[in-house]
């Protein structure tokens, strides 16, 4: 006989809510970089406006976590899962903010043409999205191994960031008119690197939910 069915159902609902939010956030990353690649300022504005909805959703899920704590007195694994959920929600919201800032760049560069290819930026974005999806998936499955595997992806993002940084510096050195855009793109690359770091925090939260230990995966 399964007891605490109502509680279990609410836990499941919370997790599904987090998964849905992660899908949204992943989508925002993709659309933000696409808007930038296409220099689509309207798409950029739309994304920035949509950040509010993500914040509201995160706030709602956070309240759900606190409600569960107050009303169900979770302990042990349940408590760690909810503690991890709170951590994940905060990091998802930060990721969405970074994605929104990337979209803002498309707005700021409105009317301009991209001076050079975005080089490795789209690849960074792809990896960042992948990390978000895999981290939340690891949370739902309480898969510590899958969570730890994300460290390697973060390392790859860091590596790409160094490359992008170097390429943009060279570009700006060669073409002074590219400095303004180049600087904006540096920030975009930096936002993606930060997104990957936040996704590593998601992985840490998963490990905490499973083991109760707090590893330091970002170095």
């Amino acid at each position: 006989m399964v007891v605490r069915q109502a509680f279990q159902a609410q836990l499941n609902e919370l997790e599904q809510g987090i998964v849905a939010l992660a899908v949204q956030v992943k989508d925002v990353i993709a659309r933000a970089v696409a808007a930038l690649a296409a220099m689509d300022a309207d798409a950029g504005r739309e994304i920035v406006a949509g950040d509010r909805a993500i914040d509201d959703r995160e706030a709602y899920l956070e309240r759900e976590c606190l409600r569960l704590i107050a009303l169900q007195q979770p302990v042990a694994g349940d408590l760690r899962a909810i503690g991890a959920a709170l951590r994940i929600l905060i990091d998802l919201e930060r990721i969405a903010d970074h994605a929104s800032d990337i979209a803002r760049t498309a707005v700021r560069l409105e009317g301009e043409a991209l001076l050079g290819p975005l080089v490795e930026v789209p690849r960074m974005a792809e990896l960042a999205q992948d990390m978000v999806a895999r981290a939340v998936d690891a949370y739902v499955r309480r898969d510590e191994v899958a969570a730890r595997a994300l460290v390697a992806v973060d390392d790859e993002v860091d590596h790409l960031f160094s490359q992008v940084f170097g390429d943009l510096i060279v570009l700006m050195g060669q073409r002074p008119e590219a400095v303004r855009q180049g600087t904006h793109l540096l920030f975009v690359a930096s936002h993606l690197e930060r997104i990957a770091d936040h996704a590593t925090n998601l992985a840490e939260a998963v490990i905490y939910a499973v083991t109760g230990q707090r590893p330091e995966l970002n170095d």
Binding site: M1, V2, V3, R4, F7, P74, V75, A76, L79
Partner: protein
């Protein structure tokens, strides 16, 4: 009847226990004030804490039922140890084994040992009445004597002749009611019947009564199950304060209570001790799957 007050004075124990200060022998009950109560420095929850009570591979059989299966447990001094587990797991049986309250149930057999300060309390020479003065017990439903509040507290102390003067007894009653967190509420009506008190007050009176005979250990069996939440909170505060000077073991089916008040938590299941550890760890990272299932209420 909760402890020694109503016990027959005669005993079938033979001889004196070979124990450093002879405290558990029959002679004690008529003797002078014994030693100091709870004067030990509070021990933090460290590995070096003094062990006051210890079960060593303890078994107990009711007729036809193996109720306790090889329990080994150390109870550290000056702490609250909570014993949790589902109905019928043996936690109350175990608690009663710590001061031989199970002696009163016909057909019980025990194996193994329970050591109180290194002495096996089931040794033939031990007087259970003297034992229960030093290891007191509080039950789920407070049973106050049909006498005044003052007399309830003084009764056991009188039987054990713990104070020879009226002033001494008054001081004792005041101290114990204060320790039990009841003094302010009853100080102006000590001569009134104890039966007039509320349930929560009666339970604190019972605690004061247990304290009045200078115990070292207080065992509580679901002491607040029949008490309202506010009174429960007061009793919990009382226990936390008392733990500085006494060793407390509390059986509770209220997991939040165990989490709130105890430093160590013991989980029983089917007559076995499944897990024991610091409360914080048992409640956040239990080692045994069965403990996790019970704590999270996934127990069918």
């Amino acid at each position: 009847m909760e402890y020694s007050a109503g016990e027959p004075r005669t005993s079938t124990t033979v001889g004196n226990v070979a124990e450093p200060n002879g405290r558990l022998s029959r002679q004690d009950r008529g003797g002078s004030v014994l030693g100091q109560v709870g004067g030990r420095a509070p021990a933090p929850n460290t590995a070096g804490a003094e062990v006051v009570l210890q079960a060593v591979d303890f078994h107990l059989h009711y007729p036809g039922m193996h109720a306790l299966k090889g329990i080994s447990l150390e109870v550290p001094a000056s702490q609250i140890t909570a014993v949790i587990g589902p109905s019928g797991c043996g936690k109350s049986t175990f608690l009663r084994s710590l001061n031989r309250m199970n002696d009163r149930i016909p057909g019980i057999t025990t194996l193994g040992r329970v050591l109180f300060r290194g002495l096996d309390i089931y040794a033939p020479s031990v007087d259970p009445v003297a034992l229960r003065r030093r290891i007191g017990m509080v039950f789920q439903r407070p049973v106050v004597f049909p006498m005044s509040i003052f007399e309830n507290v003084a009764y056991g102390a009188r039987i054990h002749r713990l104070d020879r003067t009226s002033a001494g007894m008054w001081a004792r009653v005041e101290r114990c009611l204060g320790d039990a967190g009841l003094w302010d509420e009853v100080k102006d009506r000590l001569r009134q019947p104890a039966g007039d008190l509320s349930g929560g007050q009666q339970q604190r009176l019972v605690i004061a009564r247990a304290l009045a005979v200078d115990p070292e250990v207080i065992l509580l069996d679901e002491p607040t199950s029949a008490i309202d939440p506010v009174a429960t909170g007061r009793i919990e505060d009382t226990l936390v304060r008392l733990a500085e000077r006494f060793t407390i073991v509390i059986v509770t089916h209220n997991l939040q209570q165990a989490a709130r008040v105890s430093q160590r938590t013991v989980f029983f299941l089917g007559g076995q001790l499944v897990e024991v550890g610091p409360t914080e760890e048992v409640f956040s990272r239990p080692r045994d799957q069965r403990t996790e299932a019970y704590l999270t209420g996934r127990f069918g």
